[in-house]
Assembly symmetry: C2
Homo-oligomer: 467 residues x 2
């Protein structure tokens, strides 16, 4: 994977952190260390571009346990990104033009509505490592997944399987099942689930590759997530794509948890198609405008497509003569006219991304999540021998090249109680059935101090959960 | 069709208008008459709930030809509805909760995002004449059309045709073509176009019915618009549905131009499925949240579906165990999580619709559009004999039961010039290739005075266009 320098170096972030602490003359677990790390973080200013909820405002907070006006400990960017402060300004503009221009807003104003999606494609393309014409911003993630599968999943009697992770996100799982059924096949025999080895939580790339080698001739499409929502594992998309292609499979990715989190090079990796939502690390708000990628090599391919007028080339679209003049590639898959009120929040977030690069964000993220890992392992390791105190297991790989910012935690005490206690203390994180808390320090707005505060509140919560 | 009293009575609005003018002691073409009609209009106050663009704000206005601060003459609700004043408040709420609650907004706050579409389904259902559980608000229109066709268009070797209007809206045309191709058929033989008789502009119900009788055995699906976007013709959906069903065809409607315009009784008519956009007469803003209807009789049907997690029953959705527990009917077709920022504008518009009924709106609309027709016919009729002055032909049916609020006009002079001159004078209306101006007085916010002003500006524009 083409990763930024620090990650590639295969120097574990723990070593980097220990070295930095030594240079500062403190211990990494000291609050002073977190503060110092924030001070030297070149991206620290980006936090100012977001609305950070206050402790007192989060509904489950117990006011007796927090300083009301402190920022909450928001570790939930993997579920819903925080609001960029620029959103309001753009939405106000949209409303203002709608009020004053009426229908003329379609082709006039700062972001004419008929073209509004184009204001976010180029920057989205940069973030996923694609050419601008390989990306469209439209619909919701699962809707896009279906539109893409209509083109890319073309089962035959000998090659009809879809390979996904065993614990794929439910929406993806249902999407695949329904696509298989739609083509007259049976998920029981056509949906192939990649499972970890017994006793392991995450998938090994070598196992995936040999699975693909073994079963590839019967696999029509491989559709993996970029970052697994439950375990936080970052898959080696380049290797999976190559393995799939070597067996004649089409390879696509659901980048819900990868976009704005990991460095992506969809074009260079030769990925066939991808889709993503933007309400997580892309901070576009609930139900935000999703993305879709179709590799340039398919731009002129004669594939099945479900079409609408927005796939018609702009230059002739309004002739309305019902003679289709289709845009090449992913732009031909645009179906309905785009919603400016969803473009605007995404644009405001992209404005923040514009101030940095994915490589720089990732560099910070590796340290930030490395810090989280370090502190958890330091304070809540599985006790040796017969000692009984609560402990935490991190199921996300420790190798930074195999994870994004999220760590998925399992506990020796009942998870529900820990979660409740964290929430009472102003921590926003999420619980995923059956058994993990997902903690995701987002490098755009989370700080080393946030991580430090989280770990200290986790300690209090583990104690309280035991009582 | 179950229509409101005035329409059913088959008393032409012209007669009603003449009678009213006589009672008022003026001529219908007098401005005083328009003013009097506005005064007695029980719905006149609803205009206050919308932002009406000013003459000076419309980009093409020529300031030397208008009173800058007058309201423009907005006749374009068929393309983009005006902004309900309540939109801003709801959007502010969404932004406020996002800023303060972060991810907690999914299940807390005035309209929890995870449930936000439910805040608009019940009222939407009322407007289309459906039960609440028959309607879902999601995606864009053409996306919904595809999701519905996946379920309802199930071609076989003997029954593989789709019947649509010859001049269906391009997006629908392309959607049908692509669905036909997706199933391995050829639009040349599987897409059946209903065309008007030679020399006629609109379709006759009896011709449609006999076409369905003749060809029905080979027709899998009939998909008509409710109101034709180009001609403004309101189809007799009940009769078409009955004719289709009698031949074993599935019958669906694209209600883009019908919803919020005509009285609809989808449930009672037994329509199988329908979809609509909400940015026209439903005033939800460009790219607004679309609607979909599946008749209750299909709620438990085992049909092909493209699924996502939002189709999973809410009560068990977040178990995330990948065991699908599908909502019945149209709710099972929900794919992606809903966008609150598109729900809010629609909700603000529905708040206005709540203040009246479709029957009352329609009653006003019949008179309002009847007034437009009366004035156009009075002032710009086709001259008898050899006289040469510009004239206007209305291609929309004169029978109010066969039209909504829009009239489609053709001209004896080049349409481009007329359109330009109207725009210079602060009229918002739209031109549709090849040859019509669409004029749509929307009963929610247009007045009889608007119609009067439009016709007078049309006269000036025809003159100017000739120079
Ligand atoms: C009849 C009809 N169908 C479909 C559409 C457009 O569909 P979408 O909302 O999917 O862009 C329109 C838009 O004007 C329309 O008038
Ligand atoms: C991996 C993954 N896929 C899909 C989705 C949801 O899809 P949609 O945006 O279509 O509701 C999520 C949402 O959390 C997700 O994490």
């Amino acid at each position: 994977m083409a990763e930024s320098a620090d990650v590639q170096q295969s120097r574990h972030p723990t070593d980097v952190l220990l070295e930095k602490a030594a240079a500062l003359g403190c211990r990494p677990e000291d609050q002073a260390f977190a503060v110092a790390m924030d001070t030297e973080d070149p991206l620290r200013g980006l936090r100012e571009d977001f609305h950070i909820p206050k402790m007192k405002d989060l509904p489950p907070t117990d006011p007796t346990l927090v300083c009301a006006d402190d920022d909450c400990v928001y570790m939930c960017g993997n579920s819903l990104g925080l609001q960029p402060k620029g959103v309001r300004k753009y939405l106000e503009q949209d409303l203002d033009y709608w009020a004053r221009y009426g229908v003329f807003g379609h082709f006039e104003g700062p972001r004419p509505w008929a073209l509004c999606d184009e204001y976010v494609t180029e920057q989205s393309a940069r973030i996923v490592g694609a050419r601008p014409e390989e990306v469209a911003c439209m619909n919701g993630l699962t809707v896009n997944l279906h539109l893409l599968l209509v083109s890319f999943y073309r089962p035959t009697s000998t090659r009809h399987k879809i390979l996904i992770e065993g614990k794929a996100f439910p929406s993806d799982h249902y999407a695949m099942e329904s696509q298989i059924r739609f083509h007259g096949y049976d998920p029981a025999t056509s949906l192939l689930l990649a499972e970890p080895r017994p006793g392991e939580q995450t998938l090994r790339t070598e196992d995936l590759v040999s699975l693909i080698k073994r079963e590839g001739d019967a696999i029509a499409a491989i559709v993996f997530s970029g970052v697994q929502y439950y375990t936080g594992q970052l898959f080696d998309m380049e290797t999976i794509t190559r393995a799939g292609h070597s067996k004649g499979c089409v390879v696509g990715f659901d980048l819900a948890h990868a976009v704005g989190n990991a460095e992506l090079h969809l074009h260079d990796w030769g990925v066939d198609f991808a889709c993503w939502c933007t309400y997580k690390y892309m901070n576009s708000g609930a139900g935000g405008l999703a993305g879709a990628f179709v590799h340039e090599k398919h731009a002129a391919a004669d594939m099945p497509k479900l079409l609408g007028w927005w796939g018609h080339k702009m230059s002739t679209r309004f002739r309305m003569d019902n003679k289709l003049d289709l845009s090449p590639g992913v732009n031909g898959l645009r179906v309905s006219n785009p919603p400016p009120l969803l473009v605007s929040p995404l644009l405001a977030s992209l404005d923040v991304f514009q101030k940095t690069t994915m490589a720089d964000l990732r560099r910070k993220s590796v340290l930030l999540t490395g810090y989280l890992e370090f502190l958890i392992k330091k304070f809540y390791p599985k006790p040796a021998g017969t000692a009984i105190r609560p402990w935490v297991e991190i199921i996300t790989p420790s190798d930074p090249a195999q994870r994004g910012c999220q760590l998925s935690l399992m506990f020796s005490v009942p998870i529900g109680a820990v979660f409740t206690e964290l929430e009472r203390r102003g921590v926003a994180c999420d619980k995923r059935e059956p058994n993990v808390l997902r903690i995701a320090p987002a490098p755009l707005y989370n700080s080393f101090s946030d991580v430090h505060r989280f770990v200290s509140l986790l300690g209090q919560s583990l104690q309280a959960a035991q009582l």
